[in-house]
């Protein structure tokens, strides 16, 4: 997928002036955030927080031991009958999937949600080789039909109204017109059911790989994940190298904390552990491939941003973020949106390609607070701003402004003078004055606070004098 994160501001501005979109995103994120609170903390704050720390440690221990766990996982999966492949980048992922498709004479593929496949634009590559590929998560199916990109990790069509989806189904699939979400869903079920049965290959992502048992773990609510991994002859899973975890005990914590943080469910409807292809007298795929995908992750691993690799893609930070709520997901310009997108898009695609994203945050800290694995997103956003500055991405106006501020704030005499000048100036200014350029962007949508006629330091000095007289 092309990176369009540099256009954050213009795209966000379009989203900001779309009240229907803002209302839809706000409703969806508020609902998810409330449900999260109810299921994460139903046994009390203390228990919920302890659980978060348990999950956080499980993910960090896995990252600490990542290379050894990857080797262990590879050996275990291979022993289970899963064919394990490694891909350094998007080119290699596409080539490997095309090779598998060619080997098994695949004409039709069905996909359940895989963020990595979006990273590497797998669908285009398959279609270019005359392989039909159909998204089967209802939201992703709608995204694919409309030729768009997902706007939320978990609920990809958060931005689309029911009427838009109805018109799309009528136009593209000859659906008899209906405004009933259930009837629309049933229509899609019929359409996709045929695709599942005809497909030669199923493509999925992976939520976790358990190193000690070689289990590929998936969660889906709709059941498309089970269809994709059960019905076609061949199953290919694309899994980031960071997804490996150590033990079944860690799995128990993580696979239960994921839906609680994501949709506020206690369990995702279908929570799967896949250990291998079909056995004798069994149904399921004849061949299971797991492609372990790097695509930039090993570059993050040795840096101070390694924590970002602990992410379990629940979307809680999106649902909590005031910026995401206002702009929706498309403004972030790549696969991942919200606070985690603002951190990993620059890291995976290059700082220069995503320079606005680390600034797309008020640093309110809610993203860290809601994160089920306690990733310090605000810290990394600040560090990325620092990196952007070092790399020369700070506009000169900001630089001079901040330098000027630093000079004034570091000198008590200058600070006093500035405060006095502001107090004096305030008397002559009209109420709520607009600031002159380049600061006018700030006052365009906000009121400048009224300046006190006397500064704190003046008041303090006067009080001290008055106090001495009283003695």
């Amino acid at each position: 997928m092309d990176v369009k994160a540099r256009d954050f501001i213009p795209v966000a501005q379009v989203a900001l002036s779309d009240p229907a979109l803002r209302a839809a995103v706000k409703r969806a994120t508020d609902t998810a955030a409330q449900k999260r609170l109810a299921t994460m903390f139903w046994a009390g704050r203390t228990h919920g927080e302890a659980l978060r720390q348990q999950a956080a440690q499980a993910r960090r221990r896995a990252l600490r031991d990542l290379p050894a766990l990857l080797e262990q996982a590879e050996a275990a999966m291979t022993a289970n009958g899963i064919q394990v492949l490694w891909a350094a980048d998007g080119d290699e992922v596409r080539r490997l999937v095309l090779d598998i498709a060619a080997r098994h004479e695949v004409r039709r593929a069905v996909k359940s949600k895989s963020m990595i496949s979006e990273e590497v634009a797998l669908n285009h590559a398959l279609q270019a080789h005359d392989i039909d590929v159909l998204e089967t998560d209802l939201g992703e199916f709608i995204v694919q039909l409309s030729g768009e990109t997902p706007s939320h990790i978990v609920t990809p069509v958060i931005h689309k109204s029911k009427e838009t989806i109805r018109d799309l189904f009528v136009r593209e699939l000859d659906m008899p017109p209906t405004d009933d979400a259930e009837a629309m869903t049933q229509f899609a079920r019929g359409h996709l059911r045929r695709a599942f049965l005809e497909a030669d290959m199923g493509i999925s992502g992976g939520n976790f790989i358990i190193a000690e048992t070689g289990a590929l773990c998936l969660v889906t609510n709709e059941g498309n994940g089970r269809m994709v991994t059960s019905l076609p002859r061949v199953h290919v899973a694309l899994v980031g190298i960071e997804k490996v975890i150590a033990t079944v005990e860690d799995y128990a914590t993580l696979t239960q904390i994921l839906p609680r943080s994501s949709t506020g469910q206690t369990m995702t409807v279908y929570t799967q552990m896949i250990h291998g292809p079909r056995g004798a007298d069994d149904d399921g795929p004849e061949h299971v491939y797991v492609i372990l995908v790097d695509n930039g992750r090993s570059d993050i691993y040795p840096t101070d941003y390694a924590e970002a690799l602990a992410c379990i893609r629940c979307g809680a930070c999106l649902n909590a973020c005031p910026v995401y709520e206002a702009t929706g997901g498309h403004a972030y310009g790549w696969v991942y949106s919200g606070p985690i997108g603002a951190v990993i898009t620059p890291l995976l695609t290059g700082l220069e390609n995503a320079s606005p994203l680390p600034h797309a945050s008020s640093l309110c800290g809610l993203c860290k607070e809601v994160c089920p694995v306690d990733i310090d997103l605000p810290r990394m956003l600040l560090d990325l701003r620092h990196d952007l500055d070092e790399a020369g991405h700070t506009p000169p106006v900001w630089k001079w402004g901040i330098r000027g501020w630093a000079m004034v704030a570091r000198s008590p005499r200058l600070f006093g003078l500035a405060a006095r000048a502001a107090g004096l100036g305030g008397r002559f200014l009209p109420p709520r004055p607009p600031l002159p350029p380049p600061l006018n962007g700030w006052t365009r949508t906000r009121d400048l606070p009224e300046l006190a006629p006397k500064s704190f330091r003046q008041l303090w000095a006067e009080r001290q004098k008055a106090g001495k007289r009283d003695d």
Partner: protein
């Protein structure tokens, strides 16, 4: 160098992150519970499964359960099913045959109802845990519109943690031989269209749990 070697050597060479972490200690369960008596487990399982929009019907014995299942199948002439030796209801095969109900080939996607047993039921979350294997096709709990799951009261365990602890005690080799393990928590569902919850998008839209026996 292959990509495998490139990736692994890069990771091995890197400064190890989070080096100061404490070793994994005792873990707390995601859903804490004090009372794990069979009676309490049963109450919790039923409440949790019903909260997930499953229908739970308690049957005192196999005969009652079989009558209930025949009612659920209704006038259908075929069902998808696990091999009945994996469904803890003696006499079920004869009853189905007597009612003229045949078991369709695994993978038949045009059958309305699917019948399975379970490998365990999780009280904490109301989940049904099913492992695939010979005579236990995945399709029976996935393809039909209605999934009928027979749960013996003694199959209810407190939670996923407990079930996995039992697997570890038995040796994880056994778990690894189960090609597919799925925990089913309610009917297939989506809220992708305008946040409206709809059941039965790809998998069954109804899960009928037949709970057999006293706890």
């Amino acid at each position: 160098m292959t990509s495998r070697e490139t990736i692994l050597s890069k990771l091995h060479a890197a400064r190890q992150p989070f080096a100061g972490l404490p070793p994994a200690g005792d873990m707390i369960p995601v859903v804490p519970a004090d009372d794990t008596s069979p009676a309490a487990l049963r109450v919790r399982f039923v409440a949790a499964a019903e909260a997930l929009n499953c229908t739970v019907t308690a049957c005192p014995d196999a005969d009652a359960a079989i009558r209930h299942i025949l009612g659920l199948v209704g006038t259908d002439s075929t069902i998808l099913s696990w091999d009945l030796k994996h469904v803890p209801l003696p006499g079920l095969g004869a009853a189905l045959a007597a009612a003229g109900i045949a078991i369709a080939a695994a993978g038949d996607a045009h059958v309305r109802a699917g019948l399975t047993g379970v490998d365990a039921a999780l009280a904490a979350t109301g989940s049904l845990l099913l492992a695939s294997g010979p005579g236990k096709p995945r399709g029976a709990s996935l393809l039909p519109e209605v999934h009928i799951a027979v749960v013996a009261a003694g199959q209810i365990v407190p939670d996923l943690e407990t079930w996995l602890a039992a697997q570890r005690a038995a040796g994880l080799e056994h778990l690894r031989r189960l090609n597919s393990v799925v925990m089913i928590s309610g009917p297939s569902r989506t809220a992708d269209i305008a946040m409206e919850t709809v059941m039965g998008v790809h998998g069954p839209g109804a899960v009928q749990i037949v709970l057999v026996g006293e706890s």
